[in-house]
Symmetry: C2
Subunit: 354 residues, 2 copies
């Protein structure tokens, strides 16, 4: 059996999601035009970007373990993406971001809409965030609903719902720890634990576990796969943190000042704190976490991150992940084609440029 490519999954999941957003927008319009507008905003954002990585991982794990009814699991694959969109919308509230994929996100869109209405200026952002709060809730419940109405047999629905619920439970822990990390000394933060809970959980472990589970893979194979997913997820987060500081904004679609302004405790910054000279460290401490940090000050921090060797340190860590995950793949009892696919994926994750 030939495995579906990432492009094919993306195409088919986008088709399903387009149907979903259109149907919900119609239903929303029937209730009120203002509600239809919220759904159009959500839909616009959903198709403004995103690689559909999580649906692809689910399908890949499903097919790698012999799942041969691709169409039947597509709604579960799409549900992973709805969860992702829900989390991004809520995460952007916490991070005070108003741009995503290079366009206004839900908060950003409503910031403009409400700014033109009879609202005290000091309340505009709060109400815009409240609209985004509703949007995230809708997509979270929507992910569960998408699985429920998939038409899959009850035991497969149970597998998919349990996996989704577990992912939500873990990712909330990760987001809480990530947020609270900023309130303590850098050295006290465990960036791997945060990466595991905040990113690996729902981006890798859950889709892979769910896909293999839907295919009826043996429990031990699923455990091995989840271990692999965990490592890939950590690597993904490390690479994402690099992009958050050094990425090209026109490619990543989001500001590369935010992480530095928010003083995010990433592995990259932890290495920087550890490897920089006292003089470098005091310069970093002066600017890191300042909400009004500008591009010039950010450039100064970036110079130090490079000069002290922290950037190379992260790159080296990514190379170790590449080797470690390659070894783990050798241990999986899967076909040659499947292994090649997983290796390509790991290469993309640890060396992705957007």
């Amino acid at each position: 059996m030939t495995l579906h490519t990432a492009d094919a999954v993306r195409h088919d999941v986008d088709g399903l999601m387009r149907d979903y957003y259109e149907a919900e927008t119609l239903r929303a319009d029937e209730l009120d035009a203002a509600y239809g507008k919220l759904w159009r905003t959500m839909s616009g954002l959903a198709f403004a970007g995103g690689k559909r990585l999580r649906p692809y991982l689910l399908v890949l794990a499903y097919e790698v373990y012999g799942g041969d009814d691709y169409r039947s699991v597509l709604p579960v694959a799409a549900a992973q993406e709805l969860l992702h969109q829900s989390l991004l919308i809520h995460d952007d509230i916490t991070d005070k971001d108003i741009v995503r994929y290079g366009v206004a996100n839900v908060t950003g869109t409503y910031d403009e809409v409400y700014g033109q209405r009879c609202v005290p200026a000091s309340d505009v952002r709060h109400y815009a965030e409240s609209a985004a709060l509703l949007a995230g809730d809708l997509l979270l419940s929507g992910a569960h609903a998408m699985i429920q109405s998939s038409g899959l047999p009850a035991h497969q629905i149970a597998v998919a719902q349990a996996s989704l619920s577990r992912a939500v439970f873990e990712v909330a822990a990760g987001q809480l720890l990530d947020m609270e990390a900023g309130m303590q000394e850098m050295r006290l933060t465990d960036p791997y634990k945060i990466a595991q809970l905040k990113t690996a959980s729902y981006s890798f472990n859950a889709p892979m576990e769910c896909g293999a589970g839907l295919a009826g893979a043996p429990a031990e194979d699923i455990r091995q796969l989840v271990r692999l997913g965990s490592r890939l997820g950590e690597a993904y987060q490390l690479a994402d943190d690099l992009l958050g500081v050094f990425g090209d904004e026109s490619v990543t679609g989001k500001s590369n000042l935010t992480d530095l302004q928010e003083g995010k405790h990433t592995y990259l910054m932890q290495l920087t704190f550890r490897m920089s000279t006292p003089q470098q460290l005091s310069a970093v401490r002066e600017y890191f976490g300042r909400h009004d940090l500008d591009h010039g000050q950010a450039d100064r921090i970036k110079e130090i991150i490079v000069a002290c060797g922290a950037r190379d340190g992260v790159e080296q860590r990514l190379e170790e992940y590449r080797q470690e995950t390659a070894r783990m793949m050798e241990g999986l009892s899967i076909s040659h084609e499947a292994r090649t696919r997983l290796r390509d994926l790991a290469a993309g994750v640890t060396r992705r440029i957007r």
Copy 2:
């Protein structure tokens, strides 16, 4: 068959919920003590108050239509309450409330916690709200998970999940319209539509529809019941708006300044705007919607609400609901005991003092 009382349902649902919160708190502790703290906060809030009205309505509708496996539907009843708790937590973010049931809500609790950490004072509330955001997400997904793991047969799970999803879809519309109402002229707001979507949808329609559906009631009976639920829900909101202004804070457990400070477009205030003299109206307009409104100014508005006849107008409308819903109940093909129960419920809803 004797119908279970509200007290019995409350007791049993609380037992189930206690198990749920304990299990999730244990799982959370295993991930991180900080996460366990979030779950303890949520759990504390869940048992600080609440009448468990929605679980009772579900069980009542189930038993009224012949459902005879009370234990089996309890998880679905509890899921209605988890949804309610999720919505309250998120709604409190939008309303900037930090107290619920007379105690600190999630935002209020974390406002204190984060205030003692190394966080810029201007960010404390934002992060506290972000913790509440996560809490609401967890309980929303938790409601779906509670249904999924109920052990009910697949067709009943499908009924319950679809009902929950529809409720989330409608209540989000209601919350959006409620929020946006404050941005337009009072006369443009449709308080019945908002009450229908924001309150009736998930507080009455969904539990009653779901309960009757789980009992296998005929579609026409379910439709009648939902129509009844809609009217009860509207009445409930009208009574709630009265309480929001005239309620005893020590009984309601929340501030009765908030609605006036936020300038909420309720039926009560719409009547006030319509029935007051030009002189009264200009006094109301001066204070209504002012964030710094104090108790003295609130008392002035309340005097006018009473003097112009708006309060009586709402009371009279509640009496009409009482009569109308009584007539609707006569049309239902249910037992005498069931009708008595529904009538008691309607009386409580339209004349509740807390």
